[in-house]
Amino acid sequence: MLNFTLRRLLWLIPTILAMALVTFLVMHATPGSPLDPVAEGANPLSPDAQKNLAAAYGLDKPLWEQFAIFVGKALRGDFGQSFVYKTRTVSEILWDAFPVSLLLGSMALVLAVAGGVTLGVLAAVYQNHSWDYVSVTVATLGVSVPNFVLAVFLIVLFSFVLPIFPTGGWGEPTDWVLPTVTLALGPMGIIARFTRSSMVEVIRSDYIRTARAKGLAESPIILKHVLKNACIPVVTLLGPLFAAVGTGSFFVESIFRVPGMGRFFVLSMTGRDYPMIMAVVLLYGVFLTLMNLAVDLVYGFIDPRIRY
């Protein structure tokens, strides 16, 4: 077990390095540079100024050297100065924004698990009856409709038609409701679909038939015997899902004006903010790998058939 954990943690190093390298290469391989004028058609900087800026940010060095410098500094937690927010370091910006996204994402994940498992169980128990259709429709809605579209519908419904929740902001707990729900619907749909198909499979298994034959009532069969085993594949989903919602969504955060880190995923790329791009992609990568590791460890506890 300890051996397994250590080995997996060691694997993190090459994985993260590969991610950093690919991002770095894509960033530099494509035409254009951060020294280009910000607005379209604006006057370019003079060649001298460009040269000075390139030297100041280390962009004049050969690529492999730039990458080596980046890795060296990143190891010490220094991701450099943002090219866009010139007065702040990348670490400072993310230190402020990440906790906000993490809070929003955690709330959304809790809601998604609670709602998704409930919908999945209802759908599996009432297979091919109205509850199944309701659940499948809600799940499909969550999975397929982009969250910026869901956000528009939720704002219209719960801010305009029924003025219960504010349209945006991040102060009061009432501000949290709509972004949380919007963010949760996608993962909820995925969890519901997974729970349903996994439940359906378990319900048909022999040991459930045995439980029924012994005369057990339906609800303990479903809640104790089926759900316990049906949950195992669902747990695998939680790692990537938490990584996705926990690092913030550009769409949800920009529509509801949440000061999280979701927007930096997009703004850093459209603004060619090299240090910021590297930082957010790596943060996501590390988060995802750690979550997957956590899921694998939890897996061992809930499914005793698995040995490390």
């Binding site: 991610m19 035409p31 809605l141 409709v145 910026f148 579209v149």
Partner: protein, 305 residues
């Protein structure tokens, strides 16, 4: 849906199912069976009909649109839906209905076109890796794994913001990122299929590798490829909408639903109709494709339900 599974048992894999019936007549009956099952699935039929309607709207956009989608008319900006403009007008006085009809064109083009590219890249690479095996396979699989680790949308945004907005670049970005899934699936299919008896039989009869691959292995690997294409279409449409929402997708003045939502979401309180109608269009399109895709999957792989 309580569909009858093949008599030989429920644990049959699609691959076995196809492999067990490699002759031309039997393959036709697999598709005919699937078609019959698909027609019985109400949600899938509704989805399919909507998809066909959307395609028609996209093809005949120039006939259907009551007004031009580019012509600004400053005499009637921000008109609420009325008789002349059923869905209102935007900040330049352009007819929202006409712009939405042309928006269908972008969505359908991206959805279907991107999948053609994905097929052309993903299937040959996946088939090659699976069929040739050895070092080629190891190299390809490693590469696919690294590509898989990237958050998909993030990678597309990165490519788009580097290449610049535009329909052609959307195809490039979607093609670059989208082939991975299908390549992986084709490889897995080819890997299992090439060990089957009917492939061995074809080889024994003296068929060359190319013929074995194209005539025997690939046709049998078709079902998962078809399923992954039906899900790839809405994913591509979603990606285009998201890119255009951010502002790195379709270049204005060409309208796209995502772009209309993105441009107008800050005016939601004052001019709700600018956002709500394109949002409905996106939602309906995505739901239709997903229901249809689910139906296709269940029809081709009856043990799933």
């Amino acid at each position: 849906m309580a569909l009858s599974t093949p008599a030989s048992g429920t644990s049959l894999d699609t691959a076995d199912l196809v492999a067990a019936a490699p002759s031309a007549a039997a393959t036709t009956s697999l598709w005919r069976d699937a078609w019959r099952r698909l027609r019985r699935n109400k949600l899938a039929v509704v989805g399919g009909v909507t998809v066909v309607l959307l395609c028609l709207v996209a093809v005949f956009a120039n006939v259907l649109a009551p007004q031009s989608y580019t012509k600004a008319n400053f005499g009637n900006i921000y008109e609420f839906p009325n008789r002349e403009f059923p869905l209102g007008t935007d900040q330049l006085g352009r007819d929202v209905l006409s712009r939405m009809i042309y928006g269908a064109r972008v969505s359908m083009l991206v959805g279907l076109g991107s999948q053609v590219i994905v097929l052309l890249i993903g299937v040959p690479l996946g088939a090659l890796a699976g069929f040739v095996g050895g070092r080629t396979d190891i190299l390809m699989t490693r590469f696919i794994d690294v590509m898989y680790a990237f958050p998909r949308l993030l990678f597309v945004i990165l490519v788009m913001s580097m290449l610049g907005a535009g329909l052609l670049n959307i195809f490039v970005a979607l093609g670059l990122t989208g082939w991975v899934g299908i390549a992986r699936q084709t490889r897995a299919q080819v890997l299992t299929l090439k060990e089957k008896e009917f492939v061995e039989g074809a080889r024994a009869l003296g068929a060359r590798s190319w013929r074995v691959l194209t005539r025997h292995v690939l046709p049998s690997a078709l079902t998962p490829i078809v399923v992954s294409i039906t899900f790839g279409i809405p994913e591509a449409i979603f990606t285009e909408a998201a890119l255009s929402f951010i502002g790195v997708g379709i270049n204005p003045p060409t309208p796209s639903w995502g772009q209309m939502v993105g441009e107008n979401q800050q005016f939601l309180r004052s001019y709700w109709y600018l956002c709500v109608f394109p949002s409905i269009a996106i939602a309906v399109t995505m739901l239709s494709f997903t229901f249809f895709g689910d139906g296709v999957r269940d029809a081709l792989d009856p043990k799933m339900k």
